[in-house]
């Protein structure tokens, strides 16, 4: 929990739930410019939408 990820739409999110299925993580948005998300939103993210671990700021 708490690991930060960079999504392909350049949003930064942190993991708040992991079912351990290798496919999905539940995240909270920390930074985003996406049309369909806002900071603080909690969403489920599928692994192809993840670009990388987020760099420590």
């Amino acid at each position: 929990m708490g690991t930060k990820l960079l999504l392909k739409d350049q949003s930064i999110v942190e993991i708040i739930g992991n079912p351990g299925d290798g496919g999905w993580v539940q995240v909270r948005y920390l930074e985003t410019q996406a049309d369909d998300a806002a900071v603080g939103d909690e969403e489920w993210v599928f692994y192809p939408d993840v670009q990388d671990f987020a760099q420590e700021m």
Partner: protein, 453 residues
């Protein structure tokens, strides 16, 4: 196999004469109709809340021929969902039990949370665009769910009456079955994992006969009776059946209701609670525990009659496919016309010490299940009766349900019950078949409730 065109269901189930066509038990088309007419409408037993004690816990179950998932969501509410993805129908859960944050379909990654809400799909933005409303595609949930003193029941039909109305006069007996041995409501838990096995017979053979087929015991259980551990276990004073010995001031009667529920119930002939009799000599501490529990129960019952039902060796059916008593739940799932999945859930006082729980669990394993003392006897009959009734010639014959015809009378103490006064009767089986016919002919719950319009 097509239903014979010249025979209506009503002609096959002649309750007044006590004759029922064997076709009712072996016909493929009737089995298909049962799924729609009975299992999509009736209140069905699903499980016990102790099977899913923590948020995220789930347990697989069945409602008729279909698989469901019983889930406790993150807010502690219990749900029952059909185990099928809304996209292409794949099972979203292939485990018998566990704990999950989400249920992910392994086909296209449609993913549902523990409240059944669709929370994501693979490549959602590209495939479905911004206007796709996930809220319209949740897991399919039962229309009504009732937690009845810890037992979980559900129906697919939003127009079904309340669960208490569905039970009618047998409701107190169901409540009693889920009390701990000191008489506390919702005082039980179920041993996990449960027992499951498939038997090659139609579901109605066990489900309609198990609780109230008194004449089968002496022959079917002959060998186990000789060892004094069977249902009749009285040989030479060697009574070792732990529960049968508990309440001597009782009789067993065949009891039926117009709701199709009923069975072989313990009816108490005196008020209060009888003195405890030691039966657990191989489990240190168990008799001390149950004796103390009995004293607490005696204080609650006072000078009232004990509720008739599943204690003291009684057991009864709730229409259509579950049998209850004070220590086990026998759940008969229709899989195919000639395949039934037999489930056993064994209950124990949730606050009992570990050594008592272990003793009850070991007793259950010895007494029931396919390798146990008695159920293997019963299965032999059901498993051979089905194929021996399925042939073209065999199907032309009727099963007689003639035992104790005309002997039933309203029970003066318990309104809504008719009872026979002994166990060598098929009154409860006739009542279940009568209700079966009503369900099979009804176009909706308007035709089924109130009962006996």
């Amino acid at each position: 196999m097509a239903l014979q065109q010249d025979r209506s269901l009503r002609s096959m189930v002649d309750i007044e004469s006590g004759l029922v066509s064997r076709e009712v038990y072996v016909n493929d088309e009737i089995f298909r109709q049962e799924q729609e007419q009975i299992f999509m409408r009736a209140w069905l037993f699903v499980g016990h809340e102790s099977m899913v004690p923590n948020p995220g816990d789930f347990a697989a179950s069945r409602m008729g021929a279909e698989e469901v998932i019983m889930v406790r969501d993150r807010k502690n509410k219990v749900h029952v969902f059909l185990n099928t993805c809304r996209h292409r129908g794949m099972k979203v859960c292939r485990y018998d039990r566990g704990n999950a944050l989400v249920f992910t379909c392994p086909f296209h990654a449609w993913t549902y949370d523990t409240e059944g809400k669709l929370v994501g799909m693979g490549h959602q933005k590209q495939a479905y665009g911004p206007d796709f409303d996930k809220a319209e595609w949740p897991l399919h949930e039962v229309a009504q769910l009732r937690n009845y003193y810890g037992s979980i029941w559900a129906t697919w039909d939003p127009k079904a009456p309340s669960f208490e109305e569905y039970l009618g006069p047998i409701a107190p007996s169901v409540r009693h079955c889920f009390q701990s041995s000191d008489g506390e409501d919702n005082g039980l838990e179920v041993f996990m994992p449960i027992m499951r096995w498939r038997i090659p017979t139609n579901w109605k053979f066990p489900a309609f006969s198990f609780a109230g087929d008194g004449t089968h015991g002496a022959m079917t259980h002959l060998s186990v009776n000789a060892a004094a551990v069977g249902p009749q276990g009285t040989r030479g004073g060697g009574e070792r059946h732990l529960l049968r010995a508990e309440f001597p001031r009782k009789s067993h009667e065949i009891v039926a209701t117009e709701y199709g529920h009923g069975g072989h119930l313990a009816i108490y002939g005196a008020t209060g609670v009888p003195p405890y009799r030691d039966t657990w000599d191989t489990v240190p501490g168990a008799d001390d525990y149950y004796r103390a529990q009995r004293e607490k129960k005696a204080a609650k019952v006072g000078e009232h009659y004990m509720t008739p039902g599943g204690h003291g060796g009684g057991h009864f059916n709730i229409f259509p496919n579950v049998t209850l008593d004070s220590w086990r739940i026998l759940h008969w799932h229709p899989i195919a016309p000639g395949v039934t999945e037999s489930w056993r859930l064994f209950q124990v006082d949730k606050n009992a010490p570990k050594e008592v729980k272990d003793g009850v669990r070991h007793y259950a394993m010895r007494y029931c299940e396919p390798m146990g003392c008695t159920e293997s006897d019963d299965m032999e009959n059901w498993n051979y009766a089905y194929p021996a009734s399925k042939g073209a010639v065999a199907q032309t014959l009727d099963y007689p349900f003639l035992q104790a015809m005309g002997q039933a009378a309203p029970n003066e103490r318990y309104p809504g019950f008719v009872s026979v006064g002994h166990t060598y009767a098929e009154e409860n089986q006739r009542a279940r078949l009568r209700r079966w016919l009503e369900f099979m002919e009804a176009s909706s719950w308007d035709d089924l409730f109130p009962v006996n319009k």
